[in-house]
Subunit: 427 residues, 2 copies
């Protein structure tokens, strides 16, 4: 084995392989020996107990060594990582990676090359490290048509939202706490923008719906502009707000979206708190199944990497890549539905002047667009200044809803941009 | 393929193979054709749409057909099923089964024979049909030492307990409702006695702890004598009562037990309700992971069977059986700890005459055995007749606790047998 990239996960993998190789050998019959560890920064080898002479700063030394059967890519990013992975495959090496950005953007190219070379690509670590969901989706639900996937797949966002919900904190305060606790990066953009979740959704959607989806197929909204006030109102309706990656198969295409979502308080995903991840899958035969665990972190992700290494050694990953349609270059393109075509229920918060008749005007505009109201909370009657009017709608077309909101933009009684959040009740 | 046994699950498998073979072929590249369907009762073929001439009442016709590569055993029981499975293996056929009783009792013999013949044995359907947990445990947590497994693995019991908890019903009434709704057999013994859960625990423990355990290693208590009163008291302490199959690895051996268990109301397993199943696994590196879904029923279990058929066709099951230590005849025997060696927290309900000083006498006896009390509820002060005294203890040795209870048996103030339930807080 050659390990390229000795960051947090990479050094976890090195520790597991060097520390537990006996256990691995005993259980799986697999003897995984770390021939090379490679990083541009030699200081990162400190404390790992690498064998003398097994460190290099030159990844080509790893790829050109005929002793190396498996290359573990843990560089991250999509530029050098793509180069390293494709070069490894062309050298006839199996690849194991946790790089969701790489697979979401260049999956076709990588799986195509692997299939041509007859090598395996393991990527269990790319989605929800501590949860073997790739395996389950790839192999566990054979014979099912997957109807939907709902995933809480970003621990940073879930930690922040949990703090905002349970402690009533603002987004800013919860994020600062997450950074202090090591649950958010210094630059949290990739996580809080929803982009990381979108990468994972693109990978899951390929496995679930057996179609190719580009990253541009996923509608993405993050949690940066979420206000704790709305989390509070959701709570009054007995809903919890989570950042959910949603894939829904419909007759006319697939909805792929990542956004803050209201889930009923008794939904199995609603109680997934802090840095935990969970993914709910609904199949036409198997019904609902859910997988829950630590989505990130050094050792959970290293566990996923090592399980892929074992699977490669036993020949299982190669068979999947060469036989399953998911990895075929001829996999058809999926039809992703536009945002206007989404149909679900909605949470709306209007900021209106406190006049009688305002609610009637809002309801009138909604009604003319076939949107009916399920429940309303009006707060702050009698106070000076604009007040919030919060409502849940019944199922409606998002296109119609947006047209209604644009029409309301012209109402002088509405004083701020209306908040729109989506509600998901079922799996 | 030859399918032996056309009961509920068997006919589900037939329907999936006959109805979705196109989907299966497209996704996995596997063409599974049903050469034979076999049952002693021809009436069971009705409505399945079997190919003419593919039904037989003689299983030997299936096993002797060189066209058959995979035999799916869905007869149930351990006598004929054992004979059929061993004979199939000796004919060089791969076997797929959902028979937990068979594997729990004769797993060694069956895996040994399969390893010798170089064939695969798939058994994803044997534990929690709709949840691909066997796959996850066998392959997903490589490099981890599994510390514990906690499973709600019997849908009948969970349905009954959910009704008792949510509606306050008696065991008898809840069971009758379960039978009416099709969630319990006419003769529910195997389920409500905990025996079915014990079979599943024995299979999971082999995979988790990489040791052989006989069925006699599992301590089993069912839900038949559980009183709704105790579920109510547990609720007052913010606990929920579930039938949990528990495997815990300790330095000195493994605790294997199935019994009604108090779980904190916010434990992930506490909200698993109705006929759903869930299994929580804790690994030393991966932390806690949980799998949730439909444990039984025709199509969830058929999904597991079909996923095994695909895995056999792709050669993955054979590799697992031949390479993984779990299936080796030289797998060491596990050391199961006796009930007296269990250490956990306890729920106790005493039925005592309503005298001052009774609690002091109980506490004194417990204290002398190193058992300390965490909290107490005393009800019915002032009423005539004996009253319940309910308590939770801190962590204690069950041996000590039982010795204390035996000593209390001699107290004239205690009027009924004391109820003892176990509490589990962590994973």
């Amino acid at each position: 084995m050659g390990l390229i990239g000795l960051g947090t996960v990479g050094s976890g993998v090195a520790k597991m392989l060097l520390g537990s190789s006996g256990r691995l050998l005993k259980r799986s019959g697999v003897e995984a020996s770390l021939t090379w560890a490679c990083d541009i920064n030699k200081a990162r080898t400190r404390g790992l107990g690498l064998r003398r002479g097994s460190f290099t700063t030159d990844y080509l030394q790893v790829l050109n060594d005929p002793e190396v059967d498996v290359v573990v890519e843990l560089i991250g990013g999509t530029t050098s990582a793509r180069k390293v992975v494709l070069k490894a495959i062309s050298c006839g090496k199996h690849v194991v990676t946790a790089n969701k950005a790489l697979l979401a953007a260049h999956g076709d190219e990588i799986f195509g090359a692997a299939r041509e070379q007859g090598v395996g690509v393991g990527f269990e670590g790319s989605v929800a490290g501590g949860i073997p969901v790739i395996r389950a989706l790839r192999e566990g639900f054979a014979g099912n048509k997957i109807k939907s996937i709902f995933g809480i797949v970003n621990g940073t966002c879930n930690y922040v939202l949990t703090k905002m919900t349970q402690a009533g904190w603002s987004y800013k305060r919860a994020l600062a706490e997450a950074q202090r606790e090591g649950f958010a990066e210094k630059d949290p953009k990739l996580d809080v923008s929803g982009e990381d979740s979108a990468h994972k959704l693109a990978i899951l959607a390929r496995l679930a719906f057996c179609r190719k989806f580009g990253l541009d197929a996923v509608h993405v909204e993050g949690i940066e502009s979420l206000e704790s006030e709305d989390i509070g109102f959701a709570g009054e309706f007995e809903y919890v707000v989570k950042l959910v990656a949603i894939g829904k198969s419909r007759k006319d295409g697939v909805e792929l979206r990542v956004h803050p979502t209201l889930l009923p308080a008794d939904h199995p995903l609603a109680s997934v708190n802090g840095p935990f991840n969970a993914i709910m899958i609904e199949g036409d035969r198997v019904g609902r199944a859910m997988f829950y665990g630590q989505g990130a972190g050094q050792m959970p992700t290293a566990t996923a990497i090592v399980s892929d290494i074992v699977d490669v050694a036993l020949g299982r990953v190669q068979v999947s890549v060469s036989e399953l349609q998911h990895f075929s270059p001829s996999l058809p393109d999926g039809k992703a539905l536009g945002l206007d075509e989404v149909e679900t229920e909605y949470f709306l918060r209007f900021t209106a002047v406190d006049h009688p008749g305002v609610l009637a005007r809002i309801a009138g505009i909604l009604g003319r667009k076939q949107i009916s109201i399920a429940s309303v909370i009006q707060k702050g009657r009698g106070k000076a200044g604009p007040v919030p009017i919060v409502m849940l709608t019944h199922r409606a077309s998002e296109g119609n809803l947006r047209r209604a909101l644009r029409e309301m933009d012209r109402l002088a009684v509405l004083r701020e941009k209306t908040v729109l959040l989506r509600v998901e009740k079922g799996a």
